[in-house]
Symmetry: C2
Subunit: 256 residues, 2 copies
């Protein structure tokens, strides 16, 4: 199977000109088939503030009322996505910006109200990798915004990590997929205060051990659980690293 | 050759819920291959106003400074485009939202400054109908926002009529294309005061006559010149009608 590198970058990287340029350069120089999933939360918060719309976050997730949905649709699907697409085209990468609504790639359901009403937030139900895979085989590089649709005419705000994970799983039937999660640090750290303490490789057994002894904690636990979940679903490897280190091929590699 | 209906609708139609719903219903019920080009100027003006950005128009064209470019990228490429895509998906139409940057479909050059500096406005140079045509053959329905790119990383604001015309010409090598321009009236009127005075058909000879006797004047002249230009480039027919009349197959038909 052909190799495919699927990279997820957070908002911060793509929202500042200097880091965005470096990311686009690094991404353009990755050989072979590839796909980019991006965030854009800081720009959304900034636009919302300028429009007098309050940004409400619960557990790191944005409460998305009707006005906020318009903001994220504009920022993620328009400003950030098309900026990346144009920037990649200038670097010879034939990018295609997508939300989950485009070509019906990702369907979701509006998250049911339990303790919290997240509003127009979608939980992914189905990724259609058929046409997407064909386009990748033809040299197209999808650039995916963190938006999906419910099949009933509604765009839904959707977590970019989830979009990356679910898309990686769906494409794993057709490609040898490496899923790369970029975040602030260069990988999973043995000592949170020491940026050089990156753990180079984690297996399921080691993960259990590192959680038990308190080395891995907090938000890193669900991140790694998602990584193992992707591996079980056929993704070849998951790498956790920083966008700045993309070219160095360092970071934490999660293996079956 | 397979038939393709390429419809251009202005901003007003897609910016109000009731007219948008009707348009999407009408568009969904058109049989065969199809493509939609949309505007969005009123929403852009509204968002710009909320952000304290003044909308400056010259000869009906928006002066697009850096801040205004962000606004139109958000509104055309995000809010309006993704709203239409999700609405069509709900109606069983497998829509794909595109700007000219996506898959490098439309390249343009920044309009040179002559009497007026239009800012980040693009004049279309090249439409790549290859992959676009393949996707249409596979059942995808492109939904095109009035944005292009210059190949050097910049999105450019581009007239939707021009995008429709140039795309129709490029696709005419692969499809039997009917280009439909929707505007406020039900067609070209013999008497501007009488909405029922639609001229059913205009040939080049008749066009010359109608201009000479003053029946056709003002903004309708370049519109019709564009139509004849499209016909000379291989488009099968051009229809000028209103979005409300899309289903009735009435309007003015421009023939070679």
């Amino acid at each position: 199977m052909e190799k495919l590198t699927l990279i997820k970058v957070g908002g911060k990287i793509v929202e500042e000109d200097a880091t965005l340029c470096k990311l686009l350069d690094d991404f353009a120089s990755i050989s072979g088939r590839k796909l980019l999933v991006h965030g854009g939360g800081r720009s959304a918060t900034r636009l919302a503030a300028r429009l007098g719309i309050e940004s409400q976050m619960v557990n790191g997730r944005r409460i998305t009322d009707a006005e906020t949905l318009k903001v994220v649709t504009m920022v993620y699907g328009g400003l950030v996505n098309k900026g990346i697409v144009a920037g990649l085209q200038a670097r010879g990468v034939n990018a295609l910006g997508l939300t989950g609504a485009d070509m019906d790639v990702i369907r979701s359901v509006k998250r049911p109200v339990q303790d919290v009403d997240y509003g127009f937030v979608g939980d992914v139900r189905q990724v259609d990798a058929g046409l997407l895979g064909d386009l990748i085989h033809r040299g197209i590089v999808p650039v995916m915004a963190p938006l999906t649709h419910d099949g009933q005419g509604h765009i839904l705000n959707t977590n970019a990590d989830t979009i990356a994970g679910e898309t990686a799983k769906a494409l794993a039937t057709r490609f040898d997929v490496t899923l790369v999660y970029c975040f602030e640090k260069r990988g999973v750290l043995r000592d949170e205060q020491d940026d050089s303490s990156v753990i180079p490789q984690i297996t399921p057994d080691e993960f259990q051990r590192l959680v038990a002894d308190g080395t891995i904690q907090g938000g890193m636990i669900p991140k790694l659980e998602n990584a193992f979940d992707a591996l079980r679903a056929g993704v070849s490897q998951v790498i956790i690293t920083s966008a700045a280190a993309l070219q160095t091929e360092t970071g934490t590699c999660i293996k079956r």
